[in-house]
Structures are given as C-alpha cells and as structure tokens.
C-alpha cells in the first residue's frame, strides 16, 4: 500500500474519520492473531499427514483429521498474483487509493491474501520474493503485511 495503513482514513464522502475494518477474531482463527502479535505468521499443520493449509479451518482439508497444531511459518514466499484497487469501496481506504491486495504463495505452499508494502504498485510482479512484516494496530490486533525480500 502506498499510504500508511493506520487504523483510520478520511471518508471521501463525509470527510469524517472512518475506522478501518479489523479482522473478526473467532474461536478458530484466534491463534493466528495471537501469532501476529508475537511477529509470527502461523498456519495450521496436520499432525496426521503433516501438511499445512490455508485458509484456516477446523480440519485438515487434505486428510480430514482434526488433530493439528498452529505452527510458525518461515514468513517468506512469492507474489502469486495481485490487484490494485482504484475504486473506493470501504470509506476507510480513501487515503490509500490506489492500494494493492495480493495472493502471496508462502514457501510452505498455501496462498494467503495480503498487502504488499515498501514497494510502489508499479514495481509489483508475479514471482516477486516477499517476507512478512508486522504492523501493530492496537493491543489486540497486529496486521501482517509483506515486503520485498530481495532474494
């Protein structure tokens, strides 16, 4: 994203500060958001077949086992594809336009939705190596981002 991803942006329509949407913490994604507070990008790993997966879920989609653990990933991967939002949908992103959203393919395999920071949108490309960085929003939420890894 070009602009800082602070917790609020100015609404183009009202000029008032509108809070950025925060992730909805549920019983089954809580360990992910506990991880980002510690600077860890976590996914679930199946104790039965050993595979990792995304998005998070109550069972392993590969072998249907519900015996898994949350595990710290390397936090590195490559841009699988990306887009740049030019139209404003949620008013809190008004100050960020145009901003990017990408699928990052982690080195462990699964692809995750992410924002790429520290690089102009014009320089993004498929296959670009990236690594996770973490941006504290408040005491509960720390957002993962990805920046070029320069490999």
């Amino acid at each position: 994203m070009h602009a800082s991803t602070a917790t609020a942006g100015a609404s183009a329509r009202t000029g008032q500060e509108v809070a950025k949407p925060l992730p909805a913490i549920s019983d089954f994604n809580r360990p992910f958001w506990e991880g980002t507070r510690l600077g860890e990008f976590r996914l679930q790993r199946c104790k039965h077949c050993g595979k990792v997966w995304a998005p998070n879920g109550p069972v392993c989609p590969h072998c249907f086992s519900d015996d898994y653990r949350w595990e710290k990933m390397k936090g590195t991967g490559r841009i699988a594809t990306w887009v740049v939002f030019h139209k404003l949908y949620h008013p809190s992103f008004a100050g960020d336009l145009p901003y990017n959203v990408a699928f990052v393919e982690l080195d462990e395999g699964p692809r995750v939705i992410a924002n790429i920071v520290g690089v102009p949108n014009e320089s993004l490309r498929i296959g670009m190596p990236v690594k996770a960085v973490f941006e504290k929003i408040d005491d509960e939420i720390t957002m993962p981002r990805f920046e070029p890894a320069g490999r």
Binding site: F28, P55, T81, V83, F85, Y89, H90, V101, R111
Partner: protein
C-alpha cells in the same frame, strides 16, 4: 441410472423491461411482470404452478415464501439458493429433476434482482464478509479486499502473466458481446464499444477496466419447466433440457478462475479440459462441434476466457486468441452470449441468458436470430452446464 436427456423442457419464459431501478423498488415488482409474461408464454394459469425455485433472496432478490404469498400461489415444492449469483443452471437442473420425479408438475424458476437494494456490491459490512474464512470472492475487508471484482482481477492478472495476454486482448470479449447487444432491443447498453474506449476507460480493480465489469442493472426472469410429455400441450415449441451438469466446488475451484490457473489454493498442474467437465456432451449425445452458440456468466469479461477453456473450445491459455477475429461475435463461428450478456444486456444472474437461449431455439430473435440453431450450451468457469435443443 436414468438419463434425463430430453425428458424435461422449458415451456415458458418471461422477463421485465430491463432498466436501472432505485433502491425503493421491491424486486417483487419486476418479478410480477416477468411472472405474468412467463405464464402467458407457457399458456398456463397461475394455479398450474405448483413448484417454485428461487435464485437470489433478500436483500437483492425475493424469498420463496414471500413470492408465493404475494402472488397467491399454491406451492407443493419449493427451494431457494444462497443469496448469490452463479446458481442459475443448478436451479434449472433441480427443477428438471423435480418434475421428472413427480414432485411438481410445473416449476417456476424465479430470479429477481435489484442490485441497488444493498448498496455497493461487495462493500465491507455485507453478509458475505461474515463468512468465517473469507467472502465468496475472497473478501477480506481488513486487507481492503472488499469487492467481487477483486477476485476476477486476481485471476485476470495471473492469466495475463502466464499466457502472455493483455488487457487489450480482454477488451475483444467486451467488444464482441457489445456487438450482440446492439442487435437486442432489450439490452441496456445501446452504444458501440471499441478496444480503444475499453483501454482508455478507468481502472476499477486493476488490471480490470470499467468495461470489463458487467452492468449492475438487474431485472426479473421466470423460466417454467415441466416434463417433455406435458410440454406437448403448450402453445410454443418446447425447448428440451438435453444435458445438464452441476456446479463444481472444492480446492480446485476459485472465484474468477478455472481449475489449474493457480488462484487461491488451486493446483496449477491440472488437466484442462478435465474429462469430468465434458460429461455433459455424453449426456446430451452431442459433440462440442454441434454447439451453435455458447452462453456464460459474464459478470466480468475474463470469465468468457475461463469458460471456453474449461469446456475445451480451445486449449488452456488460448482463449485470448480464440475470441478474436469475430469468432464469438454476431455471425461468428461460436457466438457467445447473443443477448449481450451480463456485460451489456442486464445482470439477471444468467437467467436472462436462459430466456435468450429459449427464444433463439424457438426462432424468435429477429435481427440477432441464429440460423436454425440445434443445440445451445450454457457453461461457466465453475463447470456447471446445460445443453438445450428445440
């Protein structure tokens, strides 16, 4: 296993006059007009309808119970899909199975949409965002991933990169479908479109331009299905449901993509077309080369590429070239969306395409009439398909 080939038929279709509606218009209003038109078309009375299947409920659309109450129907078989597009052929297949099984005599398949009823489609705060692991188009509002177009843009970028296509190539789809629309008096888009106009239009979600996006001008369609036997009694030539297959789901599937592209959790090593996707031709007893025109869910232009490849009209990675040189336009080798599609006619979630396919097979389409079409196919990037014949 029974083959439903030609055992059921569409005997009546109806729609309202497509136009932009303010949010104050209940979707029941255009639906009443479409319902009346479909009954007249089928030569039926309201009391004959004993089954109703609804595609898209509140807030964009209508719910089965409310329609039945409001229109004074007496229904013994009803169902309703997820409040979402993409379900058209699944609903029509369900109707065919229901009449074949004797659960209803005449099923009215109903779709009415007023897109203005829920604000900007995909904006944060909508019901889609409440799904535990992301919205139906990968919506993750906390990352600014807030619109359906984002999903298609992800797939389009990947396709460009992998196969060497460009946005200007994608514009060819929009231009061809607009040409169809110009021959359809009820299409809402009335002006010609050029590749240059497409390229100079603003980005919405890059790499997709404004004209890659469909209309959010909704409307209402009603399609009445019965058995082939009962269909003989109607005033119109029956349009037989010759082949059908359901919508695929799982980790090989991703919104905006076809299997094998590498979007979301898709494996890039995947056969395209997959033999499973080609079973429709076996059911219908036809070859792909017998298909006179193809219809697909063109909410975004790139879906046309994905769908043509999925059903093997061209090889994976070749659709961007296949659609050129007038091949999918009026008079082309394989016309696509002769009504003007969701891109240029209206967005009734594919039901307007079924209305068009029915009228084409009856020879009612005036200037845009296909010459004696025998078989028309619906198919999407999600593998669902229908083959209709007259």
């Amino acid at each position: 296993m029974g083959n439903l080939r030609d055992r059921t038929a569409i005997i009546g279709v109806g729609n309202n006059e497509y136009r932009r509606m303010p949010a104050s218009v209940s979707p029941l209003v255009p639906l009443a007009a479409a319902f009346r038109n479909a009954l007249d078309d089928a030569g039926l009375q309201r009391d004959d309808i004993d089954g109703i299947l609804v595609n898209i409920g509140t807030p964009f659309g209508v719910d089965y119970d409310q329609v039945s109450e409001a229109f004074g129907l007496d229904i013994r078989f009803s169902d309703q899909t997820w409040t979402h597009g993409r379900q058209m052929s699944a609903v029509l297949g369900h109707a065919a199975m229901a009449v074949d099984a004797g659960l209803a005599n005449y099923v009215a398949c109903v779709c009415s949409i007023n897109w203005a009823r829920a604000g900007t489609v995909g904006a944060q705060g909508q019901f889609q965002d409440d799904r535990e692991i992301g919205g139906a188009h990968f919506e993750h509002p906390h990352y600014g991933m807030t619109s359906p177009g984002g999903a298609w843009a992800m797939a389009a970028r990947k396709y460009f990169d992998r196969y060497g296509a460009t946005s200007a190539d994608l514009a060819e789809v929009c231009v061809a479908i607009r040409k169809h629309a110009l021959r359809n008096p009820q299409a809402v888009m009335k002006a010609p479109l050029t590749v240059d106009e497409h390229q100079s239009s603003r980005y919405v979600c890059e790499p997709l331009h404004l004209f890659d996006y469909c209309q959010t001008i909704g409307g209402a369609c009603v399609v009445i299905v019965t058995t082939a036997e009962r269909a003989q009694d109607g005033p119109r030539k029956p349009v037989y449901i010759t082949g059908m297959q359901g919508m695929c789901a799982g980790r090989a599937e991703a919104t905006g993509s076809r299997p094998g592209l590498g979007i979301h959790q898709q494996d890039e090593d995947y056969p395209v077309p997959h033999p499973r996707d080609l079973r429709i031709y076996e059911m219908a007893g036809v070859d792909r080369k017998d298909i006179d025109a193809f219809y697909t869910y063109d909410a975004m232009s790139s879906i046309v590429w994905m769908s043509l490849e999925r059903f093997g009209f061209c090889k994976a990675g070749e659709a961007w070239e296949f659609v050129k040189d007038g091949r999918i336009g009026p008079g082309g080798e394989l016309p696509v969306n002769t009504n003007g599609g969701l891109l240029s006619e209206a967005h009734v979630s594919g039901w307007n395409h079924i209305v068009e396919m029915t009228r084409q097979l009856r020879g009612e389409c005036g200037e845009r009439q296909l010459p004696d079409p025998a078989f028309l196919q619906w198919g999407t990037n999600r593998g669902d398909s229908l083959i209709l014949r007259s």
